[in-house]
Symmetry: C2
Subunit: 360 residues, 2 copies
Amino acid sequence: MSAKHLNYLSSEQALADFAVLIKDLKKTLPGAQKSPVIAIGGSYGGMLAAWLRMKYPSSVAGALAASAPILQFIVPCGEFYRVVTHDFTISSANCSSSIRRSWPAIERFAATAEGLQWMSLTFGLCAPLKSPEDVFAFKAWLQETWVNLAMVDYPYEANFLQPLPAWPVKVACKHLQFTAGASDRELLYGISQAVRVYYNHTGAAACLNTSQTGTSSLGYLGWFYQSCTEMVMPMCTDGIQDMFEPEPWNFQAFSDECFNTFGVRPRQDWAETVYGGRDIRAHSNIIFSNGNLDPWISGGVTHSMSESVVAILVDGGAHHLDLRYNNEHDPESVIKTRTLEVRYFKEWIRQAARTLRSES
Amino acid sequence: MSAKHLNYLSSEQALADFAVLIKDLKKTLPGAQKSPVIAIGGSYGGMLAAWLRMKYPSSVAGALAASAPILQFIVPCGEFYRVVTHDFTISSANCSSSIRRSWPAIERFAATAEGLQWMSLTFGLCAPLKSPEDVFAFKAWLQETWVNLAMVDYPYEANFLQPLPAWPVKVACKHLQFTAGASDRELLYGISQAVRVYYNHTGAAACLNTSQTGTSSLGYLGWFYQSCTEMVMPMCTDGIQDMFEPEPWNFQAFSDECFNTFGVRPRQDWAETVYGGRDIRAHSNIIFSNGNLDPWISGGVTHSMSESVVAILVDGGAHHLDLRYNNEHDPESVIKTRTLEVRYFKEWIRQAARTLRSES
């Protein structure tokens, strides 16, 4: 990727591409000319779906924005990791507190060569830990693993970021039931087992690679570039309301990292300016659905803004559960959510048909 | 102007600039933080006002788009010149037909050196007509003069494009009362007198310059670039429903001219894609006002789209008359229009205040 081409990697460009594509499809697909289009997306795709309806309402009759954190730019930076932690806390006793205690335990083990070797072996790492940088990356990898487990905490076996068992957070937490008296060794062994729930559910992993978290197929580098330009989502941890090592949000450090990586610096306020922040009630025909297990609910629209900019809460739902296929283990909440969503779709299609009739 | 900098000359960039500016003003002007903003503009500025409300509704509570031809991209190409012609037709008997007959008369005079000399003297041209190219430019200059007269056909002395008397079309038409029996010489003398209404109302012009039409201060070259990129407004004449020489719309020729001038080619469909064409009823709080004497009404929104996307017709109004200062000669229609516009403004401000209250 060169800076020249990365210039086109912006949400505005994506929306314009969608608008042009939809117009072209309507022109070229037989029978499509007068078909109303509904934008549906999850996560960043959900943000794009909502924004497409906001910015190009003549292009789509409505949008379902599932687990779309369009407010992540402006909510308190600690909310995201607070939700992650909450998932582990409610999944079983002592789970989040075990993870909270694991960070100093890792540091204590990292202080000696034997400790590093023990951790490398116990976690089955592909590349043994050798330097403080390795340990730093190891902890970041663990942190992202907990985040991902929370995101994909689905009620049935699934394979979104990784092949996982049903309720993977609960399964991981089975290995993390430690009370304050547990030794560092017991604690970290439990962590290594919990991590394997995420990385080795199938038993096929020969070793664990701390440079991978299963999200590489989602184009992480591309998203990083976008977060370095307009999608600036402040994140922080304090170790109190969350189970992570305290790390304040440091925009300047983030900006420097962006500059060193891509030669660009982020426009911190642009996302709110261009997409309106919380002031979105002038728009219409948008559903924001959010699962209360999904960390991204922290930046989601969770209260209806008007009769046609509505929020749906999916109790017991992880990241855009409503967009997944029906499953016998679906909670009642997501079944109701899908029914409601389809009801809105039908209403939008009726509206669009009325508009078409009145125009012809 | 270089292509590098001209890249920033787009309506999207202008809207983004407005959004950033408004946000900054709200942040830095004491007391402005919670003040609702209303976008007001005429002509292209009116288009930007409407589009600002469409694309950044969190930035402005509403928009008054006066004489804003946002549909000019998609209406039949002959409409514009048909309205110009209509203005001359209703201003006095034989006026538009005199102008229609002037073009072949000019060609007949242009066939001889004496004819060219006579026209140059009679019109008091700064540079005498010598070549067919000069005659072509002379006719284009006349055509644009009639267009401009129609645009600024205000009911009182004014100085928008030029210092002009009240009802300048009627004044010009006093010199254009010819019936079919008039000689070419009589006809063209009348044309030369009518043109002077536009170029020499003050009596200060030593000679008439066919390379100027009084719109240079509006940044013609910049607008030409925009029409060569995204603001493609097809125009044509047929000499039947209008008083001009027939000239079909030729997109390819236009595109070639753009390429030769700026090295760019227009995106013919983009304006409709990005701004929605006629399908704008999902938006809210926009007034489209149009005067029925204004040629740009041909691309204006002249029917209300919803309760809050409304059209106001200004009977007897030229180009954005409603945005001008009150004048004792204002027609009743524009007085009512301004009152209605202010009533909408107040409603939008009340709405915005309610939104602010419910957010805090």
